[in-house]
Amino acid sequence: MKRIIYSITAVIAFLGIIFAQNVLPAFAAETLGGPKVLNEANRIENQASHAADKQSNELQNIINRANSLISNRLSSLNELSTRIQNDKRLSSSEKSSLSSDITTDSNGLTALKTKIDADTDVTTARADEKQIITSYYVYAVFEPKMRLLITLNNLQTITTNVQVLVPQLQNLINTYKSQGGDVTQLQSLLTDISTQLQTINTTITNDISTVEGVSTTSSSGASATFSKVRQDISQIVKTDFVKIRTDFSQMRPLFKELINKKPSGTPSQAAPSTAVASPSAAQ
């Protein structure tokens, strides 16, 4: 009898253990909030993965955008360099100075591109991307500055060439005057030309100095400076150029009149002793 009771007890215990192993976990999951725990764990895991993906994509986007910004600026700088090299009025020293500034910016941007391409975190890449703009200001400052300097240097070259012409014209007028010709109008026109040239030269010299002083690492104040210089070019230089051209057009018939009155060959022998290049030859 005891043996039977032990056997039944052993079977019941065995079945109980089997039951507990299979049914209780499912019971616990259903009744004690197991799915919530699992979902929470999965959610956290997905969030971490998503954040990593997002950061990686953002870094790549910054790098791509930075490369595009740098490429556009390098292209603009190349165009500017070509413009300078093809200019016929800039002196070799002016070309060299302007080209040197362009080369410095191009090299800096190229080095910055290399750094950004190697960046591994978003914060650093974003800071480097900002430097593309804030360290160079290619469009807001550098290119306008270079183009203004090109324009001012060209106008200064023309002014210098016309100034070389003034003493020669003065000598010719003096010759006609010594021969009894009426040079009053010619003298007045030449004096006006000389005055205009002086004004132009002063304006251009000051503007060149002002533009050269503009920093390319700051955009503040550059715009106002450029506007002022452009205003000087339009209202002073170009206007005075027009006056000078008008004076020239008035001088030509006066000279013709004097030449026709005088015997041929006499005025030409009174050529100035300081023979210099004519402006037309310098072009």
Binding site: I133, R245, A271
Partner: protein, 178 residues
């Protein structure tokens, strides 16, 4: 050689009595053949064949009183003359060759400086000096006209440059979009 020897000999009788004068026998092989045929047969056996170019050996036995001939010295002097002529010719050839080589060497050395000089002379046109043209009554009108055109071009170029500055999109340097 034989002809030269015959030409250089003095005009002596060759055909009559060849045996009486040994000089004639030794003068040339051609002239020695007739006497050889006239001598007795005993001597004919001792004499060398006619093809031999040594007539001395055939004439000596028969003529003991023969004076030492000057003929052997003549070929030597002629040989010397020939050798001298050859040497002179060689010297001339060497001289001509040397002159030819030196003249060929001198041509390139002469061309190099010419090329350099030509290069130097072409340099000034590439960088022409500014035209030294003083303003006179003859060119004042043209000078003023050219200056006017130059100023007009400069103003046009300045307008173009200023327009290009206006066309620069400075908003590309705005950091707010980053």
């Amino acid at each position: 050689m034989d002809q030269q020897q015959g030409d250089s000999q003095p005009p002596q009788p060759e055909t009559p009595a060849p045996s009486s004068t040994p000089d004639t026998a030794t003068s040339s092989p051609d002239s020695a053949q007739p006497p050889m045929s006239a001598v007795p047969s005993t001597e004919e056996k001792e004499t060398p064949p006619p093809s031999s170019p040594t007539p001395m050996s055939s004439s000596l036995p028969g003529t003991g009183t023969a004076t030492p001939p000057t003929a052997p010295a003549k070929p030597k002097s002629k040989m010397m003359l020939i050798v001298i002529i050859i040497i002179v010719i060689l010297l001339v050839v060497v001289g001509v060759g040397y002159w030819y080589m030196t003249s060929h060497k001198s041509q390139p050395t002469a061309m190099a400086p010419q090329a350099m000089v030509a290069h130097k002379t072409t340099a000034p046109p590439t960088q022409p000096t500014a035209g030294v043209t003083p303003v006179t009554s003859a060119n004042v009108d043209q000078t003023l006209n050219n200056t006017d055109s130059t100023m007009q071009q400069a103003v046009t170029q300045a307008n173009t440059d200023l327009n290009s500055i206006s066309n620069i999109n400075s908003s590309q340097d705005n950091t707010n979009a980053l």
